[in-house]
Symmetry: C4
Subunit: 208 residues, 4 copies
Amino acid sequence: MKKYIVEFIGTFFLVFTVGMSVRSGAEPVAAAIAIGSALMVMIFAGGHISGGHFNPAVTLAVTLRGKAELKDFVPYWVAQFAAGAVAALLVTALFNGKPAGGAALHGTMPSLIVEFLFTFALAWVVLNTATAKGTSGNSFYGLAIGFTVLTGAIAVGGISGGAFNPAVGLGVFVMGLENIQQLGVYLVADLAGGAAAALAFKSLNGQE
Amino acid sequence: MKKYIVEFIGTFFLVFTVGMSVRSGAEPVAAAIAIGSALMVMIFAGGHISGGHFNPAVTLAVTLRGKAELKDFVPYWVAQFAAGAVAALLVTALFNGKPAGGAALHGTMPSLIVEFLFTFALAWVVLNTATAKGTSGNSFYGLAIGFTVLTGAIAVGGISGGAFNPAVGLGVFVMGLENIQQLGVYLVADLAGGAAAALAFKSLNGQE
Amino acid sequence: MKKYIVEFIGTFFLVFTVGMSVRSGAEPVAAAIAIGSALMVMIFAGGHISGGHFNPAVTLAVTLRGKAELKDFVPYWVAQFAAGAVAALLVTALFNGKPAGGAALHGTMPSLIVEFLFTFALAWVVLNTATAKGTSGNSFYGLAIGFTVLTGAIAVGGISGGAFNPAVGLGVFVMGLENIQQLGVYLVADLAGGAAAALAFKSLNGQE
Amino acid sequence: MKKYIVEFIGTFFLVFTVGMSVRSGAEPVAAAIAIGSALMVMIFAGGHISGGHFNPAVTLAVTLRGKAELKDFVPYWVAQFAAGAVAALLVTALFNGKPAGGAALHGTMPSLIVEFLFTFALAWVVLNTATAKGTSGNSFYGLAIGFTVLTGAIAVGGISGGAFNPAVGLGVFVMGLENIQQLGVYLVADLAGGAAAALAFKSLNGQE
């Protein structure tokens, strides 16, 4: 149960930071730095308790790689999606409603490609910095993971919105920043990216 | 006594950076990076002597969690608030007076919510990266703690001013950047956030 | 073979981030942060498998310094250049063609100087943080190496385009961001800078 | 001799980054990030050989604190000032002369105050993260030291130019960015700040 609460806390602050930064009109580089840093600090704080996933695609990748217990899979997803939704409702309440301009419009195929690629990169970094023998005991895992999201937000945020995380995807949908079709993109592409990273890791690192 | 001087030094540079960045007209992302970095470097420098709180809400959280001595509680607060006031007076002197535009205006209820949440996050990160067994010996505690403030400054600085720290709150009040009502918000919400993080930490990590 | 795939993955994400950031119209500081961070996270993730070069000039430097096997030299270059070209083709496809404005124009002599200097700095940092006895076991090598590129991109990106990496150079040429003469600059100056750093390292650190 | 060459290399890249960033017209936050990162990466690379001072005020502080040999004092200063001058000449050559607008104008008294304070902070961070028992073996010293300069550049760069380093001061004077009176400020205030930090460190940490 403790692990699920930590996953809720971390995912909540990640999605809350996404929403507050975007709705406040922060310039893109500021929002990217805030979002990547939110993930970084929550991983450094919560990783020793829950593993610090805060992302259903990462939970999928870590489970496929064999470093998360199968019995935690559904509770982690529930905690993460619930945190995304709660954060979104609070952001919306603080701004007295959804954005006037409506949801962003993104091309589906480009979104699928870049969401897949950067969620692959994110899970690849997670598996190699937080679950690999070759990097055990390091002090950089949170920095590496958080700044992968920062990188993706700058590089492809304009193409897809830059979620790389289905719980963030649910959050920005509930906030009215992205439409339901884009939520579908986040679910499909991000989970596929996480799964592909797990396969790549296992074929390159063996069972360890 | 050495610990109190270190708390004074660290809090002074934090509040001085807040004031100089804002009064110089630095763009918000620059101010946020400077403020978060000021906290980070002072923690990395002073943490081994005083614990590197530089924040009455963090001192409250660490004391409740049982990792600061009760006899240090009042002297730490005195050092921190004094440093905030002295830094504010110096900033004001360097700019030949308070800002012409007067204090910022923030909604009270939104301010209370976001100050509570991000001070909770800040103290949560402090307790887990600087006082927990599971992360002992790490080299990232200053980065994690400082960048939590950076994140909050970008995400909710426009809502509440982004203090997350009653000594910073006193500083920006003395500088004329925030009014006395907002100082009240910082005292109430930030101390409540710190206390809540201590309770959350103890219930999730046990006595360790 | 595993090492070559890791070099492909890391170089691909580095060059993909370069292209997507620039083509998206990210402001220069945002692009620099994204590019430096992309290199950092890929090094933290892949360094324990392949050494995390992602740069033919770095492979040259590490080989001359005696910390990479000679038999890996050509396969590393092939993986890196192939990754740069593939990333460039994907960026171009995502933006439906090359940039309308054509390639940038840079002075040849200034470009040669700054590309040589910053690739020297980059390889100097790699050799000292990732192959030296005096820093063994550190958790900062990826941060140091990635942020050297960030520094160079801000400091001299306007002079030379800021590649410091022949595979990035091939990528930005294929993308249509730089012309073939500038690709020649990247090949000559960057490889010379990497080689010079290896010589400097060996004369200053001995054989270790 | 090796140590002096490393001091030259590190100081050269620091001052070269200062000059190229400013002369390129980088926005202030970009210049601050580049300059702080340049110092960080050179410390991470060269610290294990020379201590990574790259700053006469830091050499003064470390010598007073007893962690640098007296016989190295003059050669370190020579290497650092020479590197600052050489970097300045190269920057000036790359831009075909000094800036058309002439040197900046700064108030002398405010400059003295903020240069003293932030050089104190810089040397305080150096002594506590790179020479103290309580932080020995850490992986954050370069980050802490470099980002202290980043913080100062944003917070008080508009007041004093933000050198915190007499070798940088000589560099920006030779480049024509600051006048000779401001060079005097950098020499007096920065050396005083470094000396004050050494005294503070010794009184607070004892002889260790």
